[in-house]
């Protein structure tokens, strides 16, 4: 179904072109397509956010992201999938991450899309640095005792 040599995960310093990524996932056998986008919110855990940047360990992030998408396709039987994560400076409303999955049926498309974003968030070496409107800023390292 899916081309084994194609890259399915990328770290990008440029804005994500969701339409181009979606077009890569079109298949005549696909009846369902599910997509997820992470957007920069104006708040996090009650603190107003003015902007943020993402940093990645790019080589390892792309290798690990690629493993996640391939594992997702093997487990689920989805037809194709891909994911791009943005790095650099982002403003409120900007797209931080895009995941798309095409499948014969919608259950597989939804479940696979969800699994990929969950795994990306827990496994891929990317870090978010938030600037708050009160002038403070911080790296987010989930699980840290404050």
């Amino acid at each position: 179904m899916s081309d084994a040599s194609a890259k399915r995960f990328a770290i990008s310093g440029d804005p994500i072109d969701a339409a181009a990524l979606r077009a890569r996932l079109l298949h005549d056998q696909a009846g369902a397509f599910a997509a997820f986008e992470g957007w920069v919110r104006n708040h996090n855990e009650g603190r107003p956010v003015g902007g943020l940047h993402y940093e990645a360990y790019t080589a390892l992030a792309e290798a690990e992201g690629e493993r996640i998408v391939r594992e997702a396709l093997e487990r689920s039987g989805a037809l194709d999938a891909c994911c791009v994560h943005r790095v650099g400076e982002l403003a409120i409303g900007d797209m931080a991450v895009w995941v798309g999955v095409s499948a014969a049926h919608r259950g597989v498309a939804f479940d696979t899309c969800r699994w990929i974003i969950d795994e990306v968030k827990s496994r891929v070496p990317i870090w978010k640095h938030e600037r708050y409107l009160d002038g403070q800023s911080d790296w987010l390292h989930p699980g840290r005792a404050e």
Partner: protein, 80 residues
């Protein structure tokens, strides 16, 4: 004695004041190497909150420090 390149990310880079450095170490394992650098740079994060990678692939903390390798300390991730 092993010569290694180190990569620091996110809060570790801010604490170290640099994104990378070359060090000579006698640390037998990657975990001991982190403790050595933690003392030097005052890293807040315990070793059990981090992962470690060698030459671009995840490694185990108990792995030996290889001369000439590139070691990256991976703080808890927050992509998405």
């Amino acid at each position: 004695m092993a010569q290694v390149s180190l990569l620091y990310f996110a809060s570790l880079r801010d604490a170290a004041g640099m994104a990378s450095e070359a060090v000579e170490t006698q640390a037998p394992a990657l975990s001991a190497l982190y403790e050595e650098l933690r003392r030097r740079h005052g890293f807040a994060l315990d070793v059990d909150r981090l992962r470690v990678a060698v030459d671009g692939e995840f490694a185990r903390w108990e792995d030996a420090v290889r001369d000439g390798s590139e070691v990256a300390f991976i703080p808890p991730v927050s992509g998405g």
